[in-house]
Amino acid sequence: MFTDNDRQITGIQAIQEALAEEMRRDPNVVVFGEGIGERGGCFGQTKGLWNECGPERLIDTPISELAFTGMGIGASMAGLRPVIDLMYIEFMMDAAGQVVHQAAKVRYMSGGQFHCPLVLVAAIGRYNNAGPHHSGCYYPMFMHVPGLIVVVPSSARDLKGLLKSSIRSDDPVLFLEHKSLFSKKMAVPEGEFLTPLGQANVCRVGTDASIVAIGQMVEYSLAAATSLAKNGIEVEVIDPRTLVPLDEETVVRSVQKTRRLLVIDEAHETCNAAAEIATRVIEKAFDYLDAPIVRLSGAKVHVPYAPPMEQFVAPSPERIEQTVKELVA
């Protein structure tokens, strides 16, 4: 689809481009968040937009997550398309009342009279010892809530293409950016492109087992897959990209082919995305399975600070590789 000599840009640059293009395209797109104005955001996500968009469209908020998220919702009901930057997903907890009871419900409750075209952006995941208040994933909590679209990109290309699609969505989107992508350079085509919501990406084709991996786990799985290939084990690696709606079909088709499934999710194990994906496969493709579905998840503990412990609580490429070996044995 894209050529090999795509230019390399960082995840943050990909986000900047998506925002810039969409804000140029549609004057109704505005951004709310702490420090997203002239400063360019806590991660640099709005850098470079200030000259063009200014304080009218890049609204620096006080530390009032509940209120400014609710404002974004109200603004979306009144015709804007706000991007609400919550910085870390942890801070979305303080806005949960507005997210769950207003954003997710308005279209449903009003019988389709009102829509909430807004994007809630937040950073997720373990990264460089940020400690237990800045390292969580938590998307499973919001996947549970009907009416919310949940997007977890795993590459700079998808950060761009999916953010653009999210901004154009008429339903509220949680757009969750794994911190490990921010400063990494990756291939992203020049010019405008959209990545559709609800469409998984088969990152690597294989025959011996299927891996469904989310966020940074895609990178880890691809590393494991490369190493496994040297042992003659060919795994298919699927990145769902949007967790709600989930591209079940691609997953099921892969399992029908490989007959073995490993689901890898950095989020804490209980009721996580991996549980949902596993259950859907049981519901849809049980008879194809030659072995129990295996789930590798973030531990059922918070993310601790000290490097050795922090590393321990999420799946690693090595653990993925080992697990596949056992699965195909």
Binding site: V30, A67, G70, A75, A78, L80, Q102, Y108, M109
Partner: protein, 340 residues
């Protein structure tokens, strides 16, 4: 501005304060209040009877607030409401039939019977919903106000909230933002002294809610919420501030519900004394307004007011008839209007 009871004012003082309106307007106010009252009485009855499913929070005793404030608005202005929101909906011109049918859970309800009393929406009236979450509508209104200013449409936004809601972060945070961002917003506090059974005085040290506006630099006034003309006059100033200068206001209306928190709750005898309820019934916004209009315009107007009462009763009866006979959505329609 310290609250001054309506009955303390002479007519001259009222006119001077810009409160007194002309006769047509007065009749409109009276009609609007009567419609809300009759609607609530009927709704309560059909909840008791069990033909309206779910539960409702009646607005009886507080009608002057919704009518006074909404009387100051233009059709395009946005409004967010509360769990006690039928009065706001009707005062904003939503069809009485559709609101009643929503309470009955019928397809002809404002929003297909999917929401009921606490979730009444009408896009055509820019009515952003009654709300089951206390203070949940306040940030929404601020957002609408932001959108308005951004698009320079000249509209404003109004948010109703209860005294209980003023202790919630959604209100407190938004209050600061509205002031800081110069939003064209009017936040109307309906201070009926209680949040469910909890007296405001038991969960606050000072009861002057307007101070909270002042503290964040917002214009704030307190009025007799049972005096429709005083509410209206003050609301007009607040609306002008919002529409003309994009300056928000906090308008605290002192009022009282002379019914239980929800239909079915005892009116008094538990957390409120009968004496207190009786004293407030003496300040009933509709009965007293009727008296005042008769004083002001003479006995001839009494007949008109009686006719208004009667017409309101008839309108409500026909809304009930309509709602009772309307169909439900099919069960499977529950799966519509949601993504994913």
């Amino acid at each position: 501005m310290k609250r001054k009871k309506a009955q303390d004012k002479t007519r001259g003082e009222r006119a001077e304060a810009g409160c007194e309106v002309d006769e047509d307007r007065a009749l409109d106010f009276y009609r609007s209040m009567a419609r809300v009252r009759k609607f609530e009485e009927a709704a309560a009855q059909y909840v008791r009877e069990g033909s309206i499913p779910g539960f409702i929070h009646a607005y009886i005793g507080e009608e002057a607030v919704a009518v006074g404030v909404c009387g100051a608005l233009e059709p395009g202005d946005y409004v967010t409401s509360t769990h006690r929101g039928h009065g706001h909906a009707l005062s904003r011109g939503l069809s009485m039939k559709s609101v009643m049918a929503e309470l009955w859970g019928k397809r002809d309800g404002t929003n297909l019977g999917r929401g009921g009393s606490m979730h009444i929406f009408d896009a055509s009236r820019h009515f952003l919903g009654t709300n089951g979450i206390v203070a949940g509508g306040v940030p929404l209104a601020a957002g609408a106000a932001f959108a308005i200013r951004y698009k320079k449409t000249g509209q404003i936004a109004v948010s109703f909230v209860g005294d209980g809601g003023t202790n919630h972060g959604a209100f407190l945070e938004t209050l600061n933002i509205a002031a800081a961002f110069d939003l064209p917003l009017v936040i109307v506090v309906e201070n009926n002294l209680y949040a469910t059974s909890t007296p405001y005085a038991c969960v606050t040290k000072t009861q002057d809610i307007a101070l909270r506006g002042t503290a964040v630099g917002m214009a704030a006034e307190t009025v007799d919420g049972n005096d429709v003309e005083e509410v209206h006059a003050t609301a007009r100033k607040a609306v002008a501030r919002a529409r003309g200068g994009s300056r928000p206001s906090l308008l605290v209306c002192q009022t009282y519900r002379t019914v239980g928190h929800y239909e079915g709750e005892p009116v008094a005898g538990t957390y409120r004394t009968w004496e207190e309820v009786e004293a407030w019934k003496q300040k009933d916004p509709i009965i007293n307004y009727k008296k005042r209009l008769i004083e002001r315009y003479g006995a001839t107007i009494a007949e008109q007011l009686d006719r208004i009462d009667e017409e309101a009763g008839q309108e409500v009866a026909s809304a009930v008839e309509f709602s009772r006979n309307a169909p439900f959505c099919a069960p499977v329609e529950a799966t519509e209007h949601v993504y994913g």
